[in-house]
């Protein structure tokens, strides 16, 4: 037990150190920041999909609402950025609570309903009729709050928190209960697991992470349009990174994000359609030949993947 805690602590410290020290070795801080964004988001997807089996295609909705929540708190109420970030996270959790009835749907229905929900949120936020509140399609400008260095370190903290939460879930009764529900909800309920409550709880944790990350992204970017934070590709990236690495593990999504997002930056920015093609093919091949991700390659050899 004690040894496990040590391993966990080491993992968190390594992740934090890696991103604190990385700007010294590699000057493209934006890239590093976005990599952290995607690691955290894919861990959020992981909490939901890896542990409960619900695939949230509309995960980006929480990211977007967090970005907008935090920005609007800064712009309308003049909250200091870090407080506004927490506010953005809280708003995302609230949205998760409002959408929690979606969890009653099974499998594909949930995935598509969550996608519809995120598109609905996007269309509301970007609607010209709400220009006075959300600035509609014209986007957000946070120039006066712009602080790339501080927001970078805040993101490191959010990432560390996310990793810690995933580790906690993996080790705790809560995580075991979630996985039991994923495999067989009826038996889990019979064994005394409060299925609906725990699943909703996981959903809200996952939403909160996306909200915080969205707020940090808004702060770092400081000028953005609604389609930048509600782009479906954010959900897709997070899901593919998770699947690629292996859902239900900590290192899988981390590995997936670093490798694939790195790849995206070498070929994706200049020719996004080639990247989309490779992605699509990768998804198809993964599903057909390696449905449990890269982690399953190691697991097959009998080693334990954290």
């Amino acid at each position: 037990m004690l040894r496990r805690r040590w391993v966990d602590a080491v993992v968190v410290v390594v992740v934090v150190l890696a991103f604190v020290l990385a700007p010294q070795a590699y000057s493209n801080e934006t890239l590093l920041f976005q990599m952290m964004v995607y690691i955290a988001l894919s861990q959020g997807v992981n909490i939901l999909y890896g542990f409960t089996g619900y695939l949230p295609f509309g995960y980006v909705g929480f990211f977007g609402i967090g970005a907008y929540g935090a920005s609007l708190l800064m712009l309308h109420l003049n909250w200091p950025p870090i407080l506004a970030l927490l506010g953005g996270g809280a708003i995302a959790v609230l949205l998760g609570l409002v959408l929690s009835p979606l969890l009653r749907l099974s499998g594909a229905y949930f995935a598509i309903a969550s996608l519809a929900a995120s598109q609905a949120v996007y269309l509301i936020v970007s609607n010209p009729a709400l220009q006075n509140v959300t600035y509609g399609p014209y986007g957000i400008q946070l120039v006066s709050q712009f602080n790339p260095t501080l927001s970078y370190y805040v993101m490191v903290v959010i990432l560390a928190l996310t990793v810690a939460v995933v580790l906690y879930i993996r080790r705790s009764r809560f995580g075991t209960a979630l996985q039991a529900m994923r495999d067989d909800p009826v038996s889990a309920a019979m064994a005394g697991v409060p299925v609906v409550r725990q699943r909703t709880f996981a959903w809200m944790i996952s939403a909160g992470i996306a909200g915080l990350v969205g707020g940090a992204f808004a702060w770092q970017t400081s000028v953005f349009y609604p389609d930048a934070v509600f782009s479906l590709s954010i959900s897709i990236f997070a899901i593919v990174f998770t699947l690629f690495g292996g859902a239900g593990t900590l290192l899988g999504p981390l590995f997936g994000s670093v490798v694939l997002y790195g790849m995206y930056n070498t070929i994706g920015i200049s020719d996004p359609q080639y990247f989309q093609l490779i992605y699509g093919l990768l998804i198809i091949l993964l599903v057909l030949f390696l449905p449990d991700g890269a982690a399953s390659l190691l697991k097959r050899r009998g080693s334990h993947v954290l």
Partner: protein, 290 residues
């Protein structure tokens, strides 16, 4: 008001056509084809390209592309579906797989056609508006409505008047029982899947007119719209889809008349509402778990 209602019926038939293919696929396979909207997009680009290259009338492209995509569908079925059906969670796996397929199609479309909206701007269906109950409508709306109606009728006849259609409905009711009673499930499913894709492509050939143009990123939104339509009319029930399409079309036209800036929200809200309030649609099957 009357204008919005009639336009709603015309568009409703068209949306029913888009939804029907998805519903057939779902009915026989219990899988949601997330790439459905992308096949509509393919049909649209095919029609636009055929028109600009050879001046081919979109109705001819419609027939051609439907047949072609039907053949593609048969091949696609045998490559993908038996593999997925063998995994432990076919429903989720297929969702992700078709999603990947949708990404591939979209990327290829961007490479081939670019990101700009393409359409057919010449009045190929005649300039004169068609008058229904004293209201003038663009001729192409009426043609699309009629073509959709014809396609829906053909599918109905296929399902209810032919032997293989009979088997198809048996597979929809229960895959296992159909199999033990000697129906070649894979053959029946492959045909239904291919018909579904063919219908999507056929609808696509009319999309330059009905949806205002074709862009590579049309797919996902259309898939959701189609899903909303078929959930409204209950999944796995082809007849219900027509009802769902009509409700959706009329609601859309009323929204566009009275609340234009919010009308884009309609498919999403409708879908969420139906899924949460009565997920089984008009006549239903169990979709919730736990």
């Amino acid at each position: 008001m009357l204008y919005a209602l009639i336009a709603g019926v015309l568009f409703g038939l068209y949306y029913a056509l888009i939804g029907l293919g998805l519903n057939l696929t779902f009915g026989v396979l219990r899988m949601v084809n997330l790439a459905h909207g992308d096949f509509v997009m393919i049909g649209g680009f095919a029609a636009v390209t055929a028109f600009s290259a050879w001046h081919l009338h979109p109705l001819w492209s419609l027939v051609l592309v439907a047949v072609l995509i039907f053949a593609v569908g048969i091949a696609l079925y045998y490559v993908l579906v038996p593999r997925i059906a063998a995994t432990k969670d076919p429903e989720m796996i297929s969702l992700v797989l078709f999603f990947g397929l949708s990404q591939v199609i979209e990327a290829l479309a961007v490479m081939r056609f670019g990101n700009n909206t393409q359409s057919i701007y010449e009045p190929v269906f005649g300039k004169a508006p068609v008058s229904i109950l004293g209201q003038p409508f663009p001729a192409v709306w009426v043609v699309s409505g009629l073509v959709s109606l014809l396609a829906l009728l053909l599918v109905y006849l296929y399902l209810y008047r032919t032997r293989i259609g009979y088997s198809t409905r048996a597979v929809m009711a229960s895959r296992e029982e159909a199999e033990v009673s000697g129906i070649s499930v894979h053959k029946v499913s492959a045909i239904a899947f291919a018909i579904g894709l063919g219908l999507a492509a056929a609808a696509g050939a009319l999309a330059p007119f009905m949806l205002g143009g074709i862009t590579p990123d049309l797919g996902v939104g259309l898939t959701i719209t189609a899903f909303a339509v078929i959930v409204l009319g209950s999944l796995g029930n082809p007849v219900g889809t027509v009802a769902g399409g009509l409700i959706y079309g009329i609601a859309l036209m009323l929204m566009q008349t009275y609340l234009p800036s919010w009308s884009a929200l309609l498919p999403y809200l409708l879908l969420l509402l139906v899924l949460l309030v009565k997920p089984s649609g008009l006549f239903g099957r169990q979709v919730r778990s736990a």
